[in-house]
Symmetry: C2
Subunit: 288 residues, 2 copies
Amino acid sequence: MPDRMASSFSASDSSEIFARRLAASGDERLRQALVAAVAHLHTLVRELKPTSLEWRSFISFLTEVGHACDGRRQEWVLLSDLLGASALVEEVNTRRPKLATPNTVHGPFFRADAPELPLGSDISLDGIGERLAVAGRVQDLDGEAIAGAEIMTWQANSAGLYENQQPDLQPEFNLRGTFRTDDEGRFHYLTVRPAGYSVPDDGPVGGLLRKAGLPLRRPAHLHFMIRAAGFETIVTHLYDGSDPHLHEDAIFGVKPELVCHFERAAEKPSWWLDFTFVMARSKQGAQS
Amino acid sequence: MPDRMASSFSASDSSEIFARRLAASGDERLRQALVAAVAHLHTLVRELKPTSLEWRSFISFLTEVGHACDGRRQEWVLLSDLLGASALVEEVNTRRPKLATPNTVHGPFFRADAPELPLGSDISLDGIGERLAVAGRVQDLDGEAIAGAEIMTWQANSAGLYENQQPDLQPEFNLRGTFRTDDEGRFHYLTVRPAGYSVPDDGPVGGLLRKAGLPLRRPAHLHFMIRAAGFETIVTHLYDGSDPHLHEDAIFGVKPELVCHFERAAEKPSWWLDFTFVMARSKQGAQS
């Protein structure tokens, strides 16, 4: 009986049978994503031939990753980052002109609610670490200043830890802030020099990838999200060019044009950094 | 600087860069699985070119699936089942002789702790539904009885619901039981005829796949896990051949040799079913 057979799929035609069932779907993009994802998933199963026990281990891993997520921890973002998927999503989406500042991955430590501060503020609320003065300019591709651009910054402390990893040890919003560029497109603030760090390896994602021998270090960096009406939002990092792990960033986020050299100052603050962010106009006013 | 460039991967060589980082790993199977999975994941990203917003939606979906899992609900197994992955894992693993009973997917409703009962027991603890008498025999490929084989069965009720979906409405362990075959390899028990059902569509997995137009019905069936020392464990279904959804089982679990015809009895119980399970010897004593 042919229609009885239709639901009994064999290893060779399984993804075609899946795709056929979706044909009537109304959401074309969802259908396209599911068909492509299932084709790869089935090919992977055929290639790897996981035993039932291995598949159950995989399900257990997903379950543990799910349970590791809470309001302060996003283990799925970490997995996406460490497998290079987040960097690749940025890569296939960013079609900016060569001179515009490129995007990198967002990372799991962003908080949207960091307070807006006056220019010149010190975002190190505990004052621990080597002092760093950050100044910068936001401009368009023609070099024209972008006034009133919103600069959100977040970073690890001098021990390589973000405040939302240490809610009991660091002050809330330590090393985070939101600024606005002045009429010349400039901004500046005080902070401390961040340390590089290992990505969290106390959860299921870090545990698995450590076991696989994957480097879990991130070179020292500052995070920035820069928004201005009519321009593509920049979500990027600035890297400390002296960090020994620059060539093996755990989340594949280093791009040569984002590597900076912190300059030693003759007097306090000890270090300074000046960087120019270049924004590309958004297509049809939409922000990415 | 070449080693600075090494961590900045482009869309075309991203999975090779990932694979190279894993080369020193000690766990060869894990390395193989990660390299293959990441190659497919990166190809999928290159093919679909998800926007950042779409990728965040995907991360949100994973997060919701994770949060939908608890002690009674395994949403990851459901996802694996509905994408055909679970059926395919069984398919690539089961290399049984043609006459042995094939495996199907395990499904999310199994409980390992169902009580052991004397042969002839009634596993319908609320007595609701059309009565069904199940009898069977467990034998090897030569037709020799397997005495003392463990039969675990579980099924939905006459409304298509398992007791662990309705902890407040059905008695604990309703329509579940563990039996042992007698000296002739036979077993029998009383139950009710199960109804087909829709897989749970109130969680993120069912919600997404319903939106994609995927059939979410499972034809009526009984579940069995059969274990005996020296034989490969059978985990399988017996299907009601009269079910109109037999050709579009949501989890791709129907195989022609597992389709049964419940016979109408002249007197009570109203229906009966007799099925012979054929076990293959395990390789080197290992159970799958």
